[in-house]
C-alpha cells in the first residue's frame, strides 16, 4: 500500500509547534518515550517497546565452520526485518532504502564496535565456531526504529544463553540444556543508538522523534554510545549541515540518555533472572497487564473427551465404506509401469474441437491403445490433413494457419504411459492460436 501523504497543514502545524518547543505528545525536547522490556520463555527472546514502536528480538546460535581469514573467531549475523504489520507501506520490495540503511547502522553499531567477544565463540580453531544470529522484527512503526532495534539487539544478546561445549583433545562434547546450564555470551559493553532529529536546517533539535516528527524532519543524527561514554558509531543523514558544537552537544545528551537506558536494561535483565531462579512464572504471558480491558486470560481448561469414542464410532458406522481400490501395476518395459487406467488426456479435446468443422465431432483419434515394447518407436500420425482447417468463423481475426508436416515425426514412446498424444511440431502452435480464439 502506498503511504498516506502528509498534508501541508499537518506539516506546518508540526513545524510551528516545534518552533515553540512543543511536541504533540507533551514531551520535552530531550525526553525519551517510555521504554518497556519484556522477555519470553526461551533465552534470547525479548520485545522492546519504545512508546508505541515495538521490536521483537531473538538470538540463536549454531555450530559452523569459521571464515577462512578468521579461523579463530566466531561469526555474528544481524538481520533487521520491517514486518508488514509495522506499517502499511512496508511491502516486500518497497522498503529497500530504509531497510539497507537500518541494517547497515545496526551492523556498524554492534559488529564494528566489538561489543561481543568473538574469540570466546571459538570451539575448535579452524573447524568449529559458534555463529550467533540476531533476528530483529519491527512489529509497529511509530518512529525511531533504530533506537528500539539497538536496545532490542543488545538486550537479546545479554539475555541469551548458548549451550555449553567442552573440548578434550580431539573430542568436542556439546551439552544439552538439561545436562549442563547454558552459558551467557561474553559482552564487553552495550552500545545503544540515540537519534536526534533536526528541523529548519539545524535550528531545532528533538531527541527520539516519533513517526510524525520523522516525516517533517530535515535530517537525522544517530550516535551509538555505551555507558563509558565511548562513541561506537556516528551517522548523519539527510544532508543537514551541523556545526561542531551542535554535534558535541548531541554527544553529551547521548551520554546522559545512554546511561539511563543502560540502567533500565540491567534492571530488567536482573528482574528476569531473579524470577527464573526463584521458579516464578516468566514469559510473555506474565507481561500482559491484567488490568487492561483488551487483555484476557484463561487458566488451563480440562476438556471432557469421554464420549469421543462413541461419537467416532457413530460417524464411521453411518458413513459409506471406502470404495474398493483396484490397482495392480502393469510393467510395460523395465522402467515403465502403469498403475490404473488414468483419465483421457485433455489435450485431446483441443484436437477434437479443431476437427469439428471437418468431421463433425468425430471420434477421438488421439487415443492409442498399443505400445510397442523394447524398440518402442512408434509412428503416430494424428490428423495429417492436406487442406487448411478453418478454426473460427470470425472474420475479424487475422489468423494464420500453419499446415502440419507431411511426414509426421517419429516419436519414441518408451517413457510415456499408455494413452498418449503426439503431434507434429507445428501442431502446438496451432493449438495455442486456437486457445486464444476460444477466449
Amino acid at each position: 500500500m502506498k503511504e498516506t501523504p502528509l498534508s501541508n497543514c499537518e506539516r506546518r502545524f508540526l513545524l510551528r509547534a516545534i518552533e515553540e518547543k512543543k511536541r504533540l505528545d507533551g514531551r520535552q525536547t530531550y525526553d525519551y518515550r517510555n521504554i518497556r522490556i519484556s522477555f519470553g520463555t526461551d533465552y534470547g527472546c525479548c520485545i522492546v517497546e519504545l512508546g508505541k514502536t515495538r521490536v521483537l528480538g531473538q538470538v540463536s546460535c549454531e555450530l559452523v565452520s569459521p571464515k577462512l581469514n578468521r579461523a579463530t573467531e566466531g561469526i555474528l549475523f544481524f538481520n533487521l526485518e520491517l514486518s508488514q504489520m509495522a506499517a502499511p507501506a512496508f511491502e516486500p520490495g518497497r522498503q529497500s532504502d530504509l531497510l539497507v540503511k537500518l541494517n547497515r547502522l545496526m551492523e556498524r553499531c554492534l559488529r564494528n564496535s566489538k561489543c561481543i567477544d568473538t574469540e570466546s565463540l571459538c570451539v575448535v580453531a579452524g573447524e568449529k565456531v559458534w555463529q550467533i544470529r540476531v533476528d530483529l522484527h519491527l512489529l509497529n512503526h511509530d518512529g525511531n526504529i533504530i533506537d528500539a532495534a539497538s536496545i532490542a539487539a543488545i538486550v537479546a544478546l545479554c539475555h541469551f544463553r548458548r549451550p555449553d561445549v567442552s573440548v578434550q583433545g580431539d573430542e568436542v562434547t556439546l551439552y544439552t540444556p538439561e545436562e549442563r546450564d547454558p552459558v551467557p555470551l561474553s559482552i564487553h559493553h552495550m552500545p545503544i543508538c540515540v537519534s536526534f532529529a533536526f528541523f529548519q536546517q539545524g535550528a531545532y533539535l528533538l531527541v527520539d522523534p516519533n513517526e510524525r516528527e520523522e516525516r517533517v524532519m530535515d535530517g537525522l543524527l544517530v550516535i551509538a554510545m555505551n555507558k563509558h561514554r565511548e562513541i561506537c558509531t556516528i551517522q548523519s543523514s539527510g544532508g543537514i549541515m551541523l556545526l561542531k558544537d551542535q554535534v558535541l552537544r548531541c554527544s553529551k545528551i547521548a551520554g546522559v540518555k545512554v546511561a539511563e537506558i543502560t540502567e533500565l536494561i540491567l534492571k530488567a535483565l536482573e528482574n528476569d533472572q531473579k524470577v527464573r531462579k526463584e521458579g516464578g512464572k516468566f514469559g510473555f504471558a506474565e507481561s500482559i497487564a491484567n488490568q487492561r480491558i483488551t487483555a484476557f486470560k484463561m487458566e488451563k481448561a480440562p476438556i471432557d473427551t469421554s464420549d469421543v469414542e462413541e461419537k467416532a464410532e457413530e460417524i464411521i458406522a453411518e458413513a459409506e465404506p471406502p470404495s474398493e481400490v483396484v490397482s495392480t501395476p502393469v510393467l510395460w518395459t523395465p522402467g515403465t509401469a502403469q498403475i490404473g487406467e488414468g483419465v483421457e488426456n485433455s489435450w485431446g479435446d483441443l484436437e477434437d474441437s479443431e476437427k469439428e468443422d471437418d468431421e463433425g465431432g468425430g471420434d477421438q483419434a488421439i487415443i492409442l491403445d498399443g505400445i510397442k515394447m523394447d524398440t518402442g518407436v512408434e509412428v503416430s500420425d494424428i490428423g495429417s490433413q492436406d487442406a487448411p482447417i478453418i478454426l473460427s468463423d470470425s472474420e475479424e481475426e487475422e489468423m494464420i494457419i500453419l499446415e502440419p508436416d507431411k511426414n509426421p515425426k517419429k516419436i519414441r514412446t518408451q517413457t510415456t504411459s499408455a494413452k498418449q498424444e503426439k503431434a507434429p511440431s507445428k501442431k502446438p502452435v496451432k493449438r495455442r492460436k486456437k486457445k486464444r480464439a476460444a477466449n
Partner: protein, 234 residues
C-alpha cells in the same frame, strides 16, 4: 455443568499437567489474548497458548494492486513470518491453510476490489503453532472489524504410539505418531480446515475431530468472554 465439575474434581485428583489416556483428562493450556496492542494496523491481537505466542496484525479493507484485484470480492492475503531465518516452504503452506480458512468465513463480497491483509509473526513456538496462528488471526480480524459470517478457532491434537489423544500438544508431545490440526467454525462447530501429519486410522481421525469439537467450545467461550470484557459497559 455437572459434567464439568465432575471432570474438574478428577483433574485435581491427578496431576493435571498432561493428559491421561483417552478419557476426561485432556486439557488445553493456559490461554491469554490481548487485542488492539499495535497502533498502526487496523486490528491486532496477540494470542498465547501456554508458551506458544503469535502476534497478528490486520490491514483492511484497503487499497489493492490492480494485478491482485478481484472484481466481486476482497482479496485476502496471509503472511506468516517465522522468528528465526527467512520464511520457507513450511510457512508458505501454513499461509495457504490459514488463507483458505479465512476466506471461508470472511464476507469478502461486502468489500469488492479491496485487500484484507493478515500478517502473523511467530513470537515463540512451543507446540500447536498452526492452531495458535488461526486463533490469533481470528481475534485480529474481529479487532479490525472485518465482517465475518462466523468466528473460527484452531485446535491441535497429537496421537501417541499407543493411541493416547493429547489436545493442544507441547513441542515435546508433538513428537508423537500423528499431529492433527483442525479449524472449526463457531456456528455449528463444522470443520473448515484440517492439516495432519503422520499415521492414523479413520476411527482415530473421527475421535480427534470429536475431541477438537469439544475443545473448540472452550476456545469460543474464551473469545466470547474476552470480547464481553472489552465491550461491556460495566
Amino acid at each position: 455443568m455437572e459434567e464439568e465439575t465432575h471432570t474438574d474434581a478428577k483433574i485435581r485428583a491427578e496431576n493435571g499437567t498432561g493428559s491421561s489416556p483417552r478419557g476426561p483428562g485432556c486439557s488445553l493450556r493456559h490461554f491469554a489474548c490481548e487485542q488492539n496492542l499495535l497502533s498502526r494496523p487496523d486490528g491486532s491481537a496477540s494470542f498465547l497458548q501456554g508458551d506458544t505466542s503469535v502476534l497478528a496484525g490486520v490491514y483492511g479493507p484497503a487499497e489493492v494492486k490492480v494485478s491482485k484485484e478481484i472484481f466481486n470480492k476482497a482479496t485476502l492475503e496471509v503472511i506468516l513470518r517465522p522468528k528465526i531465518g527467512l520464511p520457507g516452504v513450511a510457512e508458505k503452506s501454513r499461509e495457504r491453510l490459514i488463507r483458505n480458512t479465512c476466506e471461508a468465513v470472511v464476507l469478502g463480497t461486502l468489500h469488492p476490489r479491496t485487500s484484507i491483509t493478515v500478517v502473523l509473526q511467530v513470537v515463540s513456538d512451543a507446540g500447536s503453532l498452526l492452531a495458535c496462528c488461526l486463533n490469533a488471526a481470528c481475534m485480529a480480524l474481529v479487532d479490525a472489524g472485518v465482517p465475518m459470517r462466523a468466528l473460527f478457532c484452531g485446535v491441535a491434537c497429537a496421537l501417541d504410539s499407543d493411541g493416547t489423544l493429547v489436545l493442544d500438544p507441547t513441542s515435546k508431545q508433538e513428537k508423537a505418531r500423528a499431529v492433527l490440526t483442525f479449524a472449526l467454525d463457531s456456528v455449528e462447530r463444522k470443520l473448515l480446515m484440517s492439516s495432519t501429519k503422520g499415521l492414523y486410522s479413520d476411527t482415530e481421525l473421527q475421535q480427534c475431530l470429536a475431541a477438537a469439537q469439544a475443545a473448540s467450545q472452550h476456545v469460543f467461550r474464551f473469545y466470547r468472554e474476552s470480547l464481553q470484557r472489552r465491550y461491556s459497559k460495566s
